[in-house]
């Protein structure tokens, strides 16, 4: 199954440029929306 509008974004972490882990639930804790820009090479 593919995630789509209406689904909950899963909880996961990804490494950031500063060596810190970025968490997908950080925005929820701050009660703000999240915009994910999934990069491709022609940016």
């Amino acid at each position: 199954m593919t995630l789509q509008a209406g689904d909950a974004l899963p909880l996961f972490e990804l490494p950031g440029a500063d060596g810190e882990q970025w968490g997908s639930d950080g925005h929820r804790k701050r009660n703000v929306a999240l915009v994910l820009i999934l990069h491709r090479h022609l940016a």
């Binding site: 199954m1 909950a8 490494p15 440029a17 491709r40």
Partner: protein, 159 residues
């Protein structure tokens, strides 16, 4: 991406994150290259891409007329195109997530050059605390569905 960066303030405090599939060791150079002020993270195994159904494009998708025009514009602007060892066929996407963690909108362009404009992204932003799936049919009907989506993604503390 640069346009989003320049109009960052219009996103009303939303967290904006760039997800790449570049190696984590190269992220610093990426941040410098992209010139954005928001976090850049690495999904090197492309698990999030796969979970969202963001696939690798076919030859005609990747080398669409729009892509070629974009490259031509970059060259005319004096930029040098650099060879990359990374997968140029991987397509991108833009995802809007409500404050409660519900995916509100997935922009999945058909070719690399066809990203949504900032105005389109702003129009898809839910009001604070609002859940706004873009289609009625997209509403979550199976509560176990999202839990199942966790499996292909990297768990906390495993990396």
């Amino acid at each position: 991406m640069l346009a989003v960066s320049e109009r960052h303030a219009e996103f009303a405090g939303a967290e904006i994150v760039v997800v790449t599939f570049t190696d984590p060791e190269r992220l610093g150079a990426y941040v410098e290259h992209l010139g954005v002020q928001f976090p850049v993270v690495s999904d090197v195994d492309r698990e999030l891409y796969r979970a969202l159904g963001i696939e690798r494009g076919g030859f005609r998708q990747v080398w669409s007329l729009g892509t070629l025009k974009k490259y031509a514009a970059l060259l005319l602007a004096g930029q040098r195109l650099q060879r990359t060892n990374e997968d140029i066929r991987q397509l991108g996407a833009d995802v809007i997530v409500s404050a409660d963690g519900t995916i509100a909108k997935v922009f999945q362009p058909a070719s690399p050059d066809a990203r949504p404009g900032v105005d389109e992204l702003l129009a898809a932003m839910p009001a604070s605390g609002e859940r706004r799936p873009d289609r009625e049919s997209d509403r979550l009907s199976d509560p176990g569905r999202s839990a199942a989506m966790l499996r292909p993604l990297r768990r906390r503390g495993t990396r």
